[in-house]
């Protein structure tokens, strides 16, 4: 075990103990398999409920957007109570009152709020304001995402204070009328945080800070370096055959810029042993897999950790009569040669990308 100084260890254990002391949410506390009878039907319901839960988590992020269409009710997502009696922390971000762009004083210093002030290019430089204001429209380049850092004086969780994006350049993943509800991402009434999005087609974007007139705030909007690379059309090569018919879905997108691609985007049909690659010590191998079913029935494509040295996930892409995919990762823990094998029905079409890096 790496040595750790006692101060850090004490703080860390204290932090983890506080997490352990958090009460179990009621839906989990009430979890009972016996309530799922009769078995067959219950299991389906159970699976359905689990599926809904998974979707719900995905949709939770979109709840922000949905709240934008429903101005009633709490913006706090399910399972989190706005009335949780959390002692009020010191507001970390306290722009001082004053006209225009007078630099505020912070408590604690601003450096703690913008802990990692992003590098440019900035779309909107650090801007101070009060209440509701619409910021100058900027043009987002194609494939670039939007990043924001913000802070404000304490907010009331019952109000719908938000940062919203509008315009043709808003990345599609956010929808056309995106609202970032401050109370959802604040501890108590503490108000500071950030968001980064994926890129889109680019275009004009307008940011609007909506808040009670008593709220003073500061915001910085910056361009998120693109992680979107154009997937080249497969060339005639041993590992990339032209793909007949509809292009299979490529769910995870291309490898992040700067990461080492171990197996480039490779299209194939049926079972194939992929070219071997050598893994860098202590790096994670990320696998993305897309597939396209050739029949209305459920088919699957699987990537096996063919090499026993590879301690990672088996990636399965379920093809539900049209599309599907899977992702996974793993590592050998040492520099080793890894060979993976795609297992699929002879007529099953698939596409795979393997790279090194990521979380």
């Amino acid at each position: 075990m790496p040595e750790v100084d006692s101060g850090l260890e004490t703080s860390l254990r204290s932090f983890l103990n506080e997490i352990k002391a958090q009460p179990l949410p009621r839906p989990l506390a009430d979890f009972e398999a016996a309530s799922m009878r009769p078995r067959r039907k219950a299991l389906n319901l159970f699976a359905g409920a689990a599926g809904v839960a998974v979707i719900a988590a995905s949709v939770a992020v979109f709840a922000i957007e949905l709240n934008g269409h429903h101005n009633t009710g709490s913006p706090i997502p399910g399972g989190q109570s706005a009335a949780t009696p959390t002692p009020e922390p010191t507001p970390p971000f306290l722009p001082s009152p004053g006209p225009g762009q007078v630099p505020p004083r912070f408590s604690p210093p601003a450096g703690q709020v913008f802990a990692q002030l992003p590098h440019g290019p900035w779309l909107i430089p650090k801007t101070y304001g009060t209440g509701t204001e619409t910021l100058p429209t900027f043009t987002l380049p194609p494939n670039e995402g939007i990043g924001i850092e913000y802070g404000c004086t304490p907010i009331d969780s019952k109000t719908l204070d938000s940062i919203s994006f509008s315009g043709n350049g808003v990345p599609k993943v956010l929808g056309s009328d995106f609202h970032f509800w401050l109370s959802q991402f604040s501890i108590g009434n503490r108000c500071s945080g950030g968001i980064e999005t994926a890129g889109g087609t680019g275009g004009p974007v307008t940011v609007r800070f909506t808040a009670d007139p008593s709220v003073r705030w500061v915001i910085l909007v910056y361009e998120v370096p693109s992680k979107a690379q154009v997937i080249p059309t497969p060339a005639a090569a041993s590992t990339a055959t032209s793909y007949p018919g509809p292009t299979p879905p490529f769910l995870g997108g291309p490898a992040p810029a700067g990461d080492k691609v171990l197996i480039p985007v490779t299209y194939g049909t049926g079972p194939v042993t992929l070219p071997s690659f050598t893994e860098t010590p202590n790096e994670s191998v990320q696998i993305e897999l897309g597939c396209l079913s050739t029949s209305p029935s459920v088919n699957s494509v699987t990537v096996n950790d063919y090499d026993p040295a590879f301690a990672g996930d088996t990636v399965a892409g379920q093809c539900f009569g049209g599309s599907g995919g899977g992702i996974g990762s793993g590592s050998t823990g040492f520099s080793g040669t890894v060979t993976m094998k795609v297992q699929a029905a002879p007529t099953e079409k698939w596409v795979i990308l393997v790279w090194e890096g990521g979380p």
């Binding site: 075990m1 750790v4 850090l8 860390l12 254990r13 204290s14 932090f15 983890l16 103990n17 506080e18 997490i19 352990k20 958090q22 179990l24 949410p25 989990l28 016996a34 799922m36 689990a50 839960a53 998974v54 719900a56 988590a57 995905s58 939770a60 992020v61 922000i64 997502p77 399972g79 949780t84 959390t86 922390p89 010191t90 450096g111 802990a115 995402g145 970032f180 604040s186 501890i187 108590g188 945080g193 950030g194 968001i195 980064e196 999005t197 994926a198 995870g252 997108g253 202590n282 994670s284 301690a311 996930d313 992702i327 990762s329 793993g330 590592s331 050998t332 823990g333 040492f334 979380p359």
Partner: protein
Amino acid sequence: MISSAAGVELSDPAREQAFDEIAGLESQRLFAVALSILRDEGETEDAVQETLVRAWRSQGSLFRADSPSRWLTRVCVNQCISRRRYLRSRGWPPLHLSERPGSSRDPGSSADVIDMDRAYRQLSLKQRAAITLTYGHGFSVEECAALMSCRPGTVRTHVARGLATLRKELKDA
């Protein structure tokens, strides 16, 4: 019919009761593990529920395991890590969105805890998993490696890098 760890055949009602007992005993601990890794209560609930669903579907493996507790922990840890990858693969960028600055039920209010929380969120999921399993739940490096499906050396690396990041972030705060 399935077998318990002791090799005793369990009838359906007994199986359900045994499962309920295990779920009841383990849910709180799994919730703490998952919350330490994901730092988002909603995602944590989903991860734990998915873990229990998988356990229900794989009762044979669960009851045959030498330690159902570790079996569940392993599934839960992998669920937490793969869940984020799943969301990212779907083009969900809001890794930061759901992580910063956290839910209203995040622990603590002291400046130390808030600073630690902010620093902890800078860690990768695997670093969080390695640190929480070793420092928060008392697993050895070897046990942690088994739970994370990697080698002990990889766990040590995750822990060392995670601690270095915490040290740096707390120093800069």
